[in-house]
Amino acid sequence: MLVEDLKRGLYSAVIEGDSEKALGYARELLNTGLDVKQVITDVLAPAMRVVGDMYERGEYFIADLIASAEAFKQVFDNILKPRLTSSTISKGVVAVFGTVRGDIHELGKNIAKALFEAEGFEVIDLGVDVSPERFAEVVESRKARIVGLSALMTTTMIEQEKVIEELKRRGLRESVIVIVGGAPVTEDWVRKIGADMCGDDAFKALKKVKELLGAV
């Protein structure tokens, strides 16, 4: 099979929530010599985005989301993760991830979490509907160097700004790298609220985080 066919196969298998098929395609894809990171950016992340959209449109139910998330996890844990090399720079560094208050979407956050974990970071997942106070508390108590704030809706994006305000109020803003992610997040928004980077491309974000950590 051609690489493009395998990619399409993996893409559909994740959307359909067929773990077994997804594992098969992923294995073959890596055998063609395709880079792990490309599998994620070209196939898995877009597939999960489609799954999220289908849920929003009412075509997919919770049971479907769970099946797709499981297919993603199986492929990531069993096939991709073992081939990712963690860097020394991430060792012992705590990253706190969560979906902001009022928002319960976690597909994007979970992809970022998987990548950061694979890279060797210690990821604390606060789940969904997380208040600014809770983010700040955990950043403070766990001495986190990275905080990732996910928001899928334009109505909840504003919460990302509130988290940054809360971090500032507690004097934590300078000690932590703030990543904001989610469909409506743009570079303009990142600048406007004073975050450090946009998490729309998890690999780019990861690279930038490592640069920043290295520079400190």
């Binding site: 849920y55 009412g58 139910f61 919770i62 049971a63």
Partner: protein, 477 residues
């Protein structure tokens, strides 16, 4: 007298589901959080595999043979109000709401003990809501006694029977003591039913299993309310959820009978469909109602009194959805012949109560009861002579005929709040506004069936003890 009724399962179908549930109990078994409770069943002949208690068919059959088929049910003052097991049709407010929705509000708030008292005063005056329930969980009382304090205003201000339940092992005995000071033979001629819920799938918490045991020992009726969540804690298929439900209820019946042979037990339930998109528990979804209809027939097959959570709504407001869900679920439950129907007043997945909705639901219950009463078939009622006379000699007008007046009140139910006025007499108010006016009036009039002063003194003594245990001074309402 012909009456409408609704059956869902044939005898053969009921037997099949019953057999499958027996199979579940003997092969998969039930998990009891409390090892001492598990031991009671093991001593009675059940076996253990890992942390599960496997209950063989013989024990279940023996328990069913010993369970009373009928339970006479009384009011606070000792008057018999119904026989459970005879399609008693006792509507009562959906219980243990953690919020109350005020008139005109869109956000519900945490209720107080005062709110519960007001609810009780309103329900006491609603003719077709036959029993009270510990309908609100008052947020202004100490958390460790929040179950038991709810009984106080009911016993004080209402004559109606009570559907209740405990959230703790310890407070149940205080609740039973409160009943006993109100009427010495409160346990022998019961006016309360206590709910006890297994935790799906096929497991029992320490508190609820202990409650079943303590109630059985006291001889107080318990209602085993299984709550399968279709697509979450139970299969998404209707019959799969009903089979699981049945097995759970049977495990509760067995526990009660093993502890005390002949203990009164009611076959209850509150099935809910997990919404496929939002994960919310829909009590009034058609799928949930179908599970209730199935187990109603299983209870009938086993000749056990039955209970359900219907006659309520999952809507957030007292709106079109609330009225529609209320009416069709209440009617379906009544047609199926449930003895106890918990639900009126309730909104939002069994979490919110509304006084206005209670008044409106009372209308629904009245209409439903009218339908269920059916009609007579006497010669007088067939009225052949009246028809002949009116058609041939009275110009076809039945209104002035004495037969009309003779039967009018008996035959016709006239709702009070439902709008049936001609436009010229219409008050230009919605039924929701009318309901609020009634609530306001009832609260202004205040309680009507207060406990006699000497009994109240005794009740206050037990109530005070309860509060002291929580380290507080009692709050009287």
């Amino acid at each position: 007298m012909p009456k409408p009724s609704l059956t869902t399962l044939s005898r053969g179908e009921a037997l099949e589901i019953h057999s499958r549930a027996l199979d579940l109990l003997s092969r998969v078994g039930v998990r009891f959080e409390d090892p001492e409770v598990a031991k009671i069943l093991l001593d009675a002949g059940a076996t253990r595999v890992d942390d599960r208690v496997l209950i063989p068919e013989e024990i279940v059959s023996e328990a069913l043979r010993n369970t009373p088929k009928k339970i006479d049910f009384y009011d606070r003052d000792g008057k018999r109000v119904a026989t459970l097991g005879d399609n008693a049709l006792i509507f009562n407010p959906g219980s243990a709401a953690i919020k109350i929705l005020d008139y005109g509000a869109t956000e519900p708030r945490t209720p107080t003990l005062e709110d519960l008292r007001n609810l009780i005063v309103v329900v006491e005056n609603l003719e077709f809501i036959d029993a009270q329930s510990t309908a609100l969980v008052p947020g202004d009382t100490p958390i460790e006694i929040r179950d038991a304090v709810r009984l106080y205003p009911i016993l004080r201000y209402s004559r109606k029977p009570v559907i209740t339940g405990a959230f703790t092992v310890e407070n149940l005995s205080v609740m039973l003591e409160m009943l006993k000071v109100v009427r010495e033979d409160a346990w022998k001629r019961p006016f309360t039913i206590f709910d006890a819920c297994p935790s799906p799938p096929l497991s029992w918490s320490r508190v609820t299993s202990r409650n079943v045991i303590d109630l059985a020992k006291a001889g107080v009726p318990s209602e085993i309310v299984s709550m399968p969540g279709l697509g979450a804690t139970a299969p998404v298929t209707i019959v799969g959820a009903a089979t699981l439900h049945h097995a759970e209820v049977l495990s509760g019946v067995v526990l009660a009978q093993v502890v005390s042979r002949g203990a009164p037990v009611i076959y209850g339930g509150s099935p809910a469909l997990m919404h496929p998109r939002y994960g919310t528990p829909l009590i009034v979804a058609p799928e949930s109602l179908l599970v209730s209809l199935i187990y109603r027939d299983l209870a009938r097959f086993l000749e056990l009194p039955s209970h359900t959570y219907m006659g309520l709504s999952d809507s957030k407001l007292v709106d079109y959805q609330a009225g529609a869900e209320e009416a069709y679920s209440a009617l379906v439950a009544a047609l199926a012949g449930f003895d106890v129907i918990s639900g009126p007043g309730m909104l939002e997945f069994e979490s919110v109560q509304s006084l206005e909705k209670l008044v409106l639901d009372n209308e629904v219950c009245g209409l439903v009861k009218r339908i269920l009463r059916g009609f007579g078939m006497s010669v007088e009622e067939i009225a052949l002579e009246v028809i002949e006379e009116t058609v041939l000699k009275r110009g076809g007008n039945f209104l002035p005929h004495p037969h009309t007046r003779r039967y009018l009140r008996r035959e016709v139910h006239v709702p009070r709040v439902w709008d049936a006025t001609p436009r010229s007499r219409w008050s230009v108010r919605s039924v929701y506004d009318e309901a609020h006016a009634i609530v306001t009036k009832l609260l202004e009039e205040g309680p009507s069936h207060e406990l006699s002063p000497d009994v109240l003194t005794e009740l206050n003594r037990v109530y005070e003890k309860l509060w002291k245990r929580a380290g507080s001074e009692p709050k009287y309402v």
